[in-house]
Amino acid sequence: MNDPQKKTDVWQGTLALMILRTLESMGPLHGYGIARRIEQVSGDRLVLNYGTIYPALLKLEQEGSISSQWGISDNNRKAKYYRLTRAGAKQLRKETQEWEQATEILARFLAPREQSS
């Protein structure tokens, strides 16, 4: 079950949270950087079609969680940089909390064997 080679698709709805979290820890970053970072953090266990990140970015921008600006990348390329807005930071805190709660509940359902023993 715990095969490290087994790759997982991104779950519906979690991509936005990952983007926000990435921007929080890395600061302003372009779409390619975000996608790479997400894959890295997951220990390459997450498969991401990089193209799918852009509609998600646009959605977050439209909702005001992030803002974008053209800039110059490390190796001197023009790239569009995304940054977390204040509203985005708040959103991230809220969603992180919710997510933790949800996983905790699920974990209780799935983990305990001690009660039956």
Binding site: H30, N49, Y50, G51, P55, S73, K80
Partner: protein
């Protein structure tokens, strides 16, 4: 909030579409370049690096599409696309577009025009603050003769002191005066009013002030003050500020103008140009000296309902009956909302017309729905292809709906333009009573209503065809070589035609009944010969003609001079013209008969005439003789002429000539001998029985205002100018007013019926036309569809006449069903017309036979054209179609 923000983002994205697209491409490109660079750094060849980057990115096009999707308002964009597409397809089919838009414009235009008038008269609040509190208070004769009788000033004052349901109650009366500034003298309409009337209506003058209670009660003692209308201020004084305080002559007495009312203000009559104090003093004992002659309006207290007010006034009326039995026996009170009092008579015709335009609109909509259905059906294949390419059904329905809404809006705009013009025409055509007391506007409200109406019709008549067309099964539609219409569509079209026919039959029946009424009214004998009679009013101002003798001399001389005009065969004058709705009536007594018990008095209409009146008006003298010049003398004993119905109803077999009667018209009313009996003349309208009438000679009841009547040899109006010269030859300051022909007066009495009949006829003609177009359309289409079937029949030896019968029969089935439904509905609804009909029942069998027959004839013609085409098909040609 979040989604709101996103909406604006998308909205701006829609406008900056090109920019967005470019930006997205740039961003993707920079993404790929960074990825490629990384890949190369990790040791891939340039080509492999690019391939891997693209692979990792996933579907480039679908990524673009989902970004695009997010970045704009899809619905709005496609709606605009659909709309442009709809306009394009309409332009490609001008025949269809013109027919559909014309149908709609007709339906919507007519509805809006009628609605505008109805809205103004029936729905819109009257132009006074809290106008729903305003009521008219009438005296009501409990013998049922009238519940809108004028009020005795004495009763008015008693109501005023005893009621607790009105916050105010005011007296007024409309009449005409001669208004003169010295340079110019004309007869104008005025309203004499108690001082509280204008404040009660909530009007404030734009210049000067209103008259006070003290000025009102002192009136006719010299403190004569007048408030004038904005219209008079502008037309007589050019809006000059110095008009305030100006001295003018009203009926040859000096008055001072003290105020100007705001533009457009009116009460009860829109032609009133001045308000004068009515001058009633509560101290006077009016029951001794005067009859019932004022009107009263009141304002309900805020928490009092009409019913409560009526109940309280009933109590007061009973109390007054007990206190003054000889004056008030049999008299009650009627409290009526002001609006009802103003538009009461025209309410029914307006509601009937509203119903009629709704039917017309229904026909127009059914027609357009039919046209649309035909069109959509012809495009079934187009729809099927689009469906096969992945268009959702909702999307197809929306596109078809957009087309019908585009049609609806275009038709609506055309309809508004039509209505603007039609309202003017309508008002020009309308009977005076329709527009007399309420103003009619065409404003933004109506335009909005019209647009809403056209949008709604667009949706309603477009939805069913769109649903039916989009429903069709893709597979069969695509394979469908014969392009025959779906069963569903055909049935719907059939029903639509039947509905059109039903509406048309209802309209035709209504128009038929009203037309019959107008024809009957035109042949009713009014009791006089109205052709070639000119009438005009001359009102002598009291101060210049203070004595009876002065007035009598003026009228006698004027009548003689007028009679000598070339082209005039005889001339006379009367106090009130018959059939005009004005007049005096009072109780009469017959010598030798015991006085009537209170509440059972004999009532007669009173007219005062000059000699020759009966000959001039063509009223037959049945017995005795006419008044002569010698009778027209105050010193002569009283003599009377009575009408036939007076003899029949009140004399009960007694020899009329020589019988002595009197009438309560004046301070002293001596008995006088009846010297003649004349034919009955209709009083208020042609459809009512004539009232018993007593004629005075002028000298004994010397009105200052009389209406001259001239019998002429040719066109009466050609004598209007010479007649005016005669009057001003006797008194140069004496204006002449209300110049009419007697024929016009008679016609006015059934103007209401004629107006409705004309409009209904117009509507039914339009609906007939539309129904014919509908029938033709359906049959022509079905013939085109069945070309091959018909070809086979002909090839197998069917006679052309058989084919003809087949097609016509098909159409007639629809027409017959529609006619039956229409007849049933018309039969059920015709009762509503009852109060407007005369000489014909609301279920007149002839009308209900002829209306469907007319329609069936028209339908036969409409069906014959396509049927003939079918019967002449050459079989080979027919079989080869498609």
């Amino acid at each position: 909030m979040k989604s709101f923000r996103a909406f604006f983002f998308r909205l701006s994205g829609w406008f900056r579409k090109r920019n967005r697209e470019q930006e997205m491409m740039d961003e993707f490109e920079s993404h790929l370049q960074m990825h490629i660079a990384d890949n190369i750094r990790s040791g891939m060849s340039a080509e492999e690096a690019r391939r891997q980057a693209l692979l990792k990115f996933g579907g480039m096009e679908s990524a673009k599409e989902s970004v695009r999707d997010r970045s704009r308002l899809r619905g709005l964009e496609t709606a605009w696309q659909d709309f442009r597409y709809a306009l394009r397809t309409l332009r490609r089919n001008p025949g269809f577009a013109v027919t559909a838009i014309a149908s709609l414009a007709l339906g919507i235009g007519a509805s809006i025009a009628i609605f505008t008038v109805a809205d103004n008269l029936l729905l819109r609040p009257l132009p006074y603050p809290n106008s729903s509190q305003l009521v008219m208070v009438w005296e009501a004769n409990q013998r049922g003769t009238t519940n809108q009788n004028e009020v005795s000033p004495a009763n008015y004052f008693d109501w005023k002191t005893q009621n607790t349901c009105f916050s105010d109650i005011a007296a007024f009366l409309d009449y005409h005066v001669i208004f003169s500034t010295g340079a110019r003298a004309e007869e104008i309409d005025i309203q004499s009013a108690s001082a509280n009337l204008l404040p009660m209506l909530g009007v404030t003058p734009i210049r000067g002030r209103l008259f006070t209670k003290a000025e009102d009660e002192a009136s006719s003692n010299g403190a004569d003050v007048a408030v004038i209308s904005y219209h008079l201020w502008q037309s007589w004084f050019g809006g000059d500020e110095s008009a305030i305080g100006r001295r003018v002559q009203i009926n040859s007495r000096p008055w001072t103008i003290i105020g100007v009312l705001p533009p457009g203000f009116y009460f009860h009559s829109r032609t009133v140009d001045a308000w004068l104090p009515i001058g009633l003093k509560p101290a006077e004992d009016f029951r001794k000296t005067q009859g019932r002659w004022i009107w009263t309006a009141a304002r309900l207290k805020p928490d009092i309902s009409l019913r409560q007010a009526q109940t309280q006034m009933d109590t007061i009326a009973r109390r007054l009956e007990d206190s003054y039995p000889e004056f008030n026996k049999g008299w009650g009170v009627n409290v009526e909302p002001l609006r009802d009092a103003l538009v009461g008579q025209v309410k029914t015709p307006l509601l009937v017309l509203l119903g009629a335009v709704t039917l017309l609109l229904g026909v127009a909509c059914a027609n357009v729905a039919n046209l649309l259905l035909t069109r959509f059906n012809a495009r079934r294949r187009e729809m099927a292809v689009r469906g096969a390419l992945g268009a959702a059904r909702a999307r197809l329905v929306r596109q078809l709906l957009t087309e019908s809404i585009a049609l609806g809006i275009t038709g609506g705009i055309a309809g508004i333009l039509l209505a603007r013009w039609a309202v003017q025409a309508l008002l020009a055509l309308a009977p005076r009573e329709l527009t007399h007391s309420v103003q009619v506007f065409f404003d933004l409200r109506i335009v909005i209503f019209a647009l809403a109406l056209s949008l709604l019709t667009g949706i309603i008549f477009g939805l069913a065809p769109a649903l039916v067309s989009a429903r069709s099964d893709l597979n069969t539609a695509l394979h469908d070589e014969t392009r025959s219409s779906t069963g569903m569509g055909r049935r719907l079209r059939g029903w639509l035609v039947a509905a059109e026919v039903a509406c048309a039959v209802m309209l035709l029946s209504g128009a038929g009944l009203l037309f019959h009424t107008v024809m009957k009214l035109q042949v009713v004998d009014p009791g006089l010969n109205a052709s070639n009679v000119l009438t005009f009013r001359v009102t002598l101002p009291n101060p210049r003609y203070p004595r009876v003798r002065n007035r009598a001399q003026f009228f006698v001389r004027a009548a003689q001079d007028l009679a000598h005009l070339p082209g005039v065969t005889s001339a006379s004058a009367v106090s009130y013209l018959p059939l005009q709705g004005e007049g005096a009536a009072t109780t009469v007594a017959i010598e030798g008969q015991p006085p009537a018990r209170p509440g059972e008095e004999l009532i007669a209409t009173i007219r005062t005439v000059l000699p020759e009146y009966f000959r001039t008006m063509g009223i037959p003298l049945r017995r005795g003789r006419d008044f002569t010049i010698a009778d027209d003398d105050p010193d002569q004993p009283y003599r009377f002429i009575v009408s036939e119905s007076f003899v029949r109803k009140y004399l009960a077999g007694r020899e009329p000539l020589g019988t002595r009667i009197n009438a309560e018209m004046d301070d002293k009313n001596p008995f006088g001998e009846i010297i003649g009996v004349v034919g009955d003349v209709k009083e208020e309208s042609l459809d009512k029985d004539p009232d018993p009438t007593v004629y005075y000679v002028h000298a004994h009841l010397a009105y200052g205002g009389m209406i001259f009547v001239l019998r002429t040899e040719n066109d009466p109006l050609s004598l209007a100018v010479p007649a005016r010269k005669v009057i001003q030859g006797i008194d140069s300051q004496q204006p002449v007013a209300d110049v009419f022909t007697m024929q016009k007066v008679v016609r006015e009495t059934f103007a209401r019926q004629q107006f409705s009949a004309t409009l209904l006829a117009g509507f039914s003609f339009a609906s007939l036309l539309l129904a014919a177009v509908g029938i033709y359309g359906v049959l022509a289409y079905s013939v085109a569809q069945r070309t091959r079937e018909i070809g086979v029949r002909v090839a197998l030896g069917a006679e052309p006449s058989r084919i003809l019968r087949l097609v016509v029969g098909n159409g007639m089935r629809l027409v017959l069903i529609g006619s039956l439904i229409g007849l049933a509905a018309a039969f059920a609804l015709s009762g509503l017309l009852k109060s407007m009909l005369f000489g014909i029942g609301p279920r007149d069998p002839w009308t209900f036979t002829i209306a469907p027959l007319v329609l069936i004839c028209v339908a036969l013609i409409a069906a014959y054209v396509p049927a003939r085409r079918a019967s002449r098909l050459a079989p080979m040609e027919a079989l080869r179609t498609e």
